[in-house]
């Protein structure tokens, strides 16, 4: 309860602006300044969601989340693994890093036939796009995080007789966590976009499929219903990731316990 209140307080300006924009949009559309088949009235979009919430949530959202979850998990595993590989081997770094960079420059849509060739229309074609889109920030930030370790700490652990594995586990990994988390958060956003784009390359369910299908049927309400749901899910995921990050990195925001001057904590 208290959390929710704080949250509302913090974001009240944003929420206010958002509501204002929605109301204005409603008025603009109702007064026919913008045709409803291009931007539908917010009320219509909500109506559409309410009418179809069952299939939207249980079929399409579910499918997208499945692709997202598998894709993001694999991207995280592969991305971190590659970062670890590059961290341990200069050769791997020099060989692979330019490819990682290049992979971001190739417009995915241009590669869609290749995805179809390799993965067909299975779940895996969407997972592949998801991985391709979220891989880059995860690799880069976990690699940066791993490299960030101060030499002094390593020497300290070695002086205790620590082996390489211990140094990696007790030093490099916790040290890389902050950077890794920010990479995962960005990767998460791109993974969701990736799942959507993956569905455009051929699918039979998912919010991306739904939006494209509705677009093909010239149903703007449906298109925006899917976009709204995707955005909400994205924000929720981002928020949850931020919360987990705060928990895991709680040591970062601990304030001083020693309180010589009687600092009064602000609520």
């Amino acid at each position: 309860m208290k959390n929710l209140k704080q949250w509302l307080k913090h974001y009240r300006l944003f929420i206010g602006l958002l509501l204002l924009m929605l109301v204005m949009l409603q008025l603009v559309v109702q007064s026919n300044l913008v045709p409803a088949f291009i931007i539908p009235a917010p009320s219509k979009v909500i109506e559409h969601i309410l009418e179809n919430w069952r299939i939207l949530l249980f079929d399409h959202l579910w499918a997208t989340m499945l692709e997202f979850t598998i894709g993001f998990t694999l991207a995280a595993i592969a991305g971190i693994a590659l970062a670890v590989g590059m961290f341990f081997s200069k050769t791997i770094e020099k060989m692979i890093y330019p490819f990682v960079l290049m992979s971001q420059m190739i417009p995915i849509i241009a590669l869609s036939p290749i995805f179809v060739l390799w993965f067909g229309y299975s779940l895996w074609s969407k997972v592949a796009v998801t991985i391709l889109m979220s891989f880059f920030p995860i690799v880069v930030s976990s690699f940066d995080g791993l490299r960030a370790c101060d030499k002094g700490y390593i020497e300290l652990l070695r002086s205790m007789g620590a082996n390489n594995k211990q140094i990696f586990m007790k030093l490099h990994i916790p040290m890389a966590l902050p950077s890794l988390f920010s990479g995962l958060k960005i990767g998460m956003v791109y993974a969701l976009v990736g799942a959507t784009i993956g569905e455009w390359l051929g699918a039979s369910e998912g919010l991306g499929f739904y939006s494209r299908r509705m677009s093909g049927d010239l149903n703007a309400d449906g298109v925006f219903a899917a976009i709204v749901l995707l955005t909400i899910i994205g924000l929720i995921l981002f928020g949850v990731a931020t919360m987990i990050e705060r928990k895991v990195l709680s040591w970062k925001n601990g304030s001083s316990i020693i309180n010589q001057s009687g600092v009064e904590e602000n609520e």
Partner: protein, 245 residues
């Protein structure tokens, strides 16, 4: 426990001149030895050689007649280097975790924490501690390795003079009770005189000199204002700044 360093030399890769050359030192069990020298004279380098973090180009370092290896000594680095994501207790337990063979219980560690005035701070994170507290945690971490030889690299360099004084007295009491051997780096001549049995002078391009302090123990903290200690300090300073050998 005896530490015998013979004819030690070390040159950093890419350096032309050796940082450590032909150093001879013998440290006996229970001694308190200080190493003084200007910044960059190679004090930390010598300590890292003893820990085994660096490996010498020539000469050898023997602890109880065996060549020294990593994990043989308790080492307290120049910065406190507490792991910021570990609580005080977890930081102190780090060497126990790493060496796995320690018989220390958490109970004994708690006693040490109390002794260091850190009771109640077990679960605090390093960024919640003052400078002096951090130094004590770092020192306990070196203690807890259970090694007989402790290498302390300017442990009090970052503290203000009042805190430093308290910490020195505290360190002496710990040393007396625990019967450890301490190899102590400092650039503070007064600190070296107050704490040590012997003082080693490290000067680039000079052979290492040794001065025996010869003050009685236990030493009261205002011994630093006695003329004997002041004179010793003055002598040390002259030796250090005197450019000609």
């Amino acid at each position: 426990m005896t530490l015998i360093i013979k004819n030690l030399s070390y040159t950093y890769p890419n350096h032309k001149k050796p940082t450590i050359s032909e150093v001879h030192v013998t440290v006996k069990k229970g001694e308190f030895i200080s190493l003084i020298g200007k910044s960059g004279s190679g004090k930390s380098t010598l300590l890292k050689l003893i820990t085994g973090i660096l490996y010498q180009d020539a000469g050898d370092i023997k602890l109880n007649d065996r060549s020294i290896t990593l994990g043989d000594v308790g080492y307290m680095p120049q910065q406190d280097l507490l792991l910021p994501w570990r609580t005080v207790l977890e930081n102190i337990m780090l060497p126990v975790e790493i060496q796995k063979n320690s018989h220390l219980t958490r109970e004994e560690v708690r006693k040490w924490l109390e002794r260091a005035g850190l009771a109640g701070y077990e679960q605090a994170y390093p960024n919640q501690l003052s400078g002096g507290m951090r130094q004590r945690v770092s020192f306990l971490r070196a203690m807890i390795t259970g090694k007989d030889l402790l290498l302390l690299d300017e442990p009090f360099g970052a503290l203000d003079s009042f805190t430093k004084k308290e910490m020195q007295t505290w360190l002496l009491s710990i040393w007396r009770d625990s019967k450890k051997t301490i190899f102590f780096i400092t650039h503070d001549l007064e600190e070296a005189c107050y704490l040590s049995d012997r003082i080693l002078l490290l000067k680039p391009d000079h052979p290492m000199e040794e001065i025996v302090v010869g003050l009685p123990r236990p030493r009261p903290s205002d011994i630093v204002y006695t003329s004997k200690l002041v004179e010793l300090r003055h002598k040390l300073e002259k030796k250090m700044t005197d450019e000609k050998p």
